[in-house]
């Protein structure tokens, strides 16, 4: 019994790391630009399909695809911010909802047209074998996601702490006018922040594609789960994303064990709804 619980717990933790990474891109956009991107999950799936295409043409390992997908997604984020979000922010609080929602639909149906509704997966064979450490068997796909998440998070932490652009990204949301007065151009910072956010989303998307099968319409599931992570952990907070990811990961894993795969997602969504109701500002606070 303890073995089962321990296994579930470990897998929840590992999965949580992956979800924390997935949600982090959403968190950056929301924390810095104050916009929640409904198309977030669809961008992740887009990255997975991109990796799929690259794999088909170049026949390389999906992990290596990240090296190509990441810069592409950075560019997508940059353009997204420059031509969409920038236009929409001043017009009123509801515009970003409608625009990102429409974008979500466009991406989903574009993917449907190009790649059909068939199930896809990026899982290479080496991730299908089982691991056994101390009589625990963590899922290798989740483990990969977790380790990658830690690496990416560390890199981002260093970026925010040590580089000028990273510091500017922390300063601008705190006091945009002061930042302007010392010469920081907030539009430029926002463009790069969006690029960074989608770069992270892209990496997460490929990892998700390696862990789970995906369809053109899998996007909304990931944005809802990411939203759950963000709500739980607070906006723009690295620590918060990890904690939120952990909770969602455990909820999914235990939910799957207790209620079966049919109700797994439903259980998770209900957990998120309950948290939204009880503590809309999340565990670490931070209003939108």
């Amino acid at each position: 019994m303890i073995n089962i619980i321990a296994n579930l717990f470990i897998n929840g933790l590992l999965l949580g790391g992956l979800f924390a990474l997935t949600a982090f891109g959403l968190s950056i956009l929301a924390g810095i630009m104050k916009v929640i991107n409904i198309a977030h999950g669809d961008f992740a799936i887009l990255a997975a399909y991109l990796a799929l295409t690259i794999m088909r043409f170049l026949r390389i390992d999906p992990l290596l695809c990240i090296l190509i997908v990441a810069p592409i997604m950075f560019g997508v984020g940059y353009l997204f911010q420059r031509f969409t979000i920038n236009r929409v922010l001043p017009k009123g609080a509801n515009q970003p909802v409608l625009v990102t929602f429409a974008l979500s639909i466009v991406i989903q149906n574009l993917l449907l047209l190009v790649f059909t509704a068939d199930a896809r997966s990026l899982t290479p064979n080496y991730l299908l074998m089982s691991i056994n450490i101390f009589s625990l068997s963590p899922s290798p796909r989740y483990l990969l996601g977790f380790v990658s998440a830690l690496i990416v998070f560390s890199a981002i932490f260093l970026f925010f702490k040590k580089t000028y652009l990273g510091k500017a990204m922390r300063a601008v949301p705190f006091d945009p006018e002061a930042a302007k007065m010392i010469g920081i151009k907030s539009e430029v910072v926002y463009n790069y922040a969006a690029g960074l956010a989608l770069l992270v989303v892209g990496i997460a998307g490929v990892l998700l594609g390696m862990a789970f099968t995906f369809y053109p319409d899998t996007g909304p599931t990931y944005v809802l789960l990411s939203f759950g992570v963000v709500v739980l952990g607070g906006l723009g907070s690295l620590k918060g994303s990890l904690v939120g990811g952990f909770i969602i990961g455990e909820a999914l894993v235990f939910g799957g064990y207790l209620f079966g795969s049919c109700f797994q997602l439903m259980f998770c969504y209900l957990v998120i709804l309950v948290i939204l109701y009880l503590r809309p500002q999340g565990i670490f606070g931070g209003k939108l």
Binding site: K167, I182, G183
Partner: protein, 234 residues
Amino acid sequence: MLEVNSIDVFYGDLQVLWGVSLKVNRGEIVSLIGPNGSGKTTLCKTLVGVLRPKAGSIFFIGKRIDQLSTPDIIRSGISIVPEGRRLFGNMSVKENLELGAYAAETRKNVDDALEWVFSIFPRLRERQNQLASSLSGGEQQMLAIARGLMSKPRFLILDEPSLGLAPKIVLEVYDLIKRIREEGVTILLVEQYADKALENSDRGFVLENGRVVLEGPSEKLFRDERVKKAYLGE
């Protein structure tokens, strides 16, 4: 050094400054006084490019700057310590200082600039890794001024540096201002409390309702009847 020629500044459709002109020569400390809402901060914002004048021009060391972007203006050598300090409370003292050099040439040798600034503000060196929001009022003002100096400006604008500070700290701040002048920086001092500003400056301008109503050597303004009645509480 700085020449403001008859600028009109608007917030949207609302005009805030009418034909404002002023001049600051190299090495001077010039004060700009006037009541709340007279447009002092608007003028400061226009000088650094956050706002643009709809009419008139601004020249700095012979170069026209009123249509330049803020980073370009900072690179020309102007820096501002905003009203209310406007520090980044979520970041450390050192990080706030580093950001002061963001747009400037000094960014490439940020450590040199830091050393220079720490020599003027030793207390900041002690607290360099502390969160900016954890400093006292006086220390925060020091930090704000220090941040303004990180770009090694030739011209520094101080918007209400004594606001909300205890008298003892205000004296410290003004000593610092004198020290900064000694380091070769020309200063525009914007204050609501006219007495300290006029005591410590060479010349002054009085701004009321968006217009310059008086100007002259600080000594003279200090003794001027109108100024005394309105601002020096006599």
